[in-house]
């Protein structure tokens, strides 16, 4: 039996981590949303983790989503433990979040050098950076940047398919 594939989904607040996992989870989805008491542009925020087992082209992925707010940064370390790949989500319309995204990203990769994909969301905004531009800022391979809509069940699979490819190269 192959070991379960553990994937961590991370990124700044509002990038769409919980939305993505919720879209792909068929059942047994776990969220830890709490009502936001400050203005973060949405009503709730993840305080511990999201979890679901999702099916990507027949491969089950055990997906763990981190909180996005910095004060929960200890959860990155806890959830990244034993992860085989990571999906970093970034909004295309909030360049101000990019330094934060880079910080989270570098932290996860400093734990262990695991394959990653950069998922770019909110591409339908009036002013949006292209996924390749975001990859450039994050100093990653533009081929690893995937623009997608986390609300769309088919589109939401794309970054995971790309990540599985990256993982296959490693295995």
């Amino acid at each position: 039996m192959k070991a379960p594939l553990k994937i961590v989904v991370t990124g700044p607040v509002g990038a769409g981590k919980s939305t993505l996992i919720r879209t792909l989870a068929k059942e047994g989805y776990v969220d830890t949303d709490a009502r936001a008491t400050e203005d973060i542009g949405k009503k709730t925020t993840t305080v511990a983790m999201d979890h679901a087992v999702i099916d990507v082209e027949g491969t089950p992925l055990h997906v763990f989503g981190t909180p996005g707010q910095e004060r929960f940064d200890y959860m990155w370390e806890i959830l990244a433990e034993g992860a085989l790949g990571t999906l970093l989500l970034v909004r295309a319309d909030r360049p101000g979040d990019l330094p934060k995204a880079r910080q989270i990203f570098e932290f996860i990769l400093s734990q262990s050098e695991i394959p990653y994909v950069v998922g770019v969301t909110h591409l339908d905004a009036d002013v949006a950076w292209a996924p390749e531009e975001i990859a450039l800022f994050l100093r990653t391979d533009p081929a690893l940047a995937v623009g997608f809509d986390p609300r769309d069940p088919r589109d939401a699979l794309r970054p995971f398919v790309r990540l599985l490819d990256a993982l296959d190269g490693k295995r």
Binding site: V30, D31, T32, D33, A34, R35, A36, T37, E38, T45, V47, A48, M49, P67, Q69, R71, F72, Y74, M75
Partner: protein, 120 residues
């Protein structure tokens, strides 16, 4: 009296009835400090962690069919950190040493948690 003062008074009353209470704090369910008796340096961090523990505890309680979330107990070699749900608008975190009377702490802290739920 402001809400802040009322909350601080409740925490002080808890410490008076249980002098072994080392730290007591109230945080919002999304992890921001509201009031704290104890170190200000770690208040923000502990507030975030209390919200994480309670948020996760709520899901564990649901998944294992334990019903509504009440409290989470962290027991270390040198003491306890107990997190109580205070309505749906806050969490109460209390630290006591390992030799504290946990039964008495629950009795007092649950009372405080109820009072906090009314204020928040």
């Amino acid at each position: 009296m402001t809400k802040q003062e009322q909350i601080t008074q409740l925490l002080e009353a808890l410490k008076r009835s249980l002098p072994e209470v080392r730290e007591a704090m109230v945080a919002s369910p999304d992890g921001l400090p509201i009031a704290t008796l104890g170190s200000q340096d770690t208040a923000a961090r502990i507030a975030a962690m209390a919200a994480t523990a309670l948020g996760l505890g709520r899901r564990i309680a649901q998944t294992t069919q334990l019903g509504g979330m009440k409290e989470v107990v962290v027991r270390g070699d040198q003491g306890y950190f107990v997190i109580y749900q205070t309505g749906d608008k806050g969490v109460l975190g209390v630290t006591v040493p390992a030799d504290a009377n946990l039964g008495l702490l629950h009795l007092e802290a649950r009372e405080v948690a109820r009072a906090l739920a009314d204020i928040l």
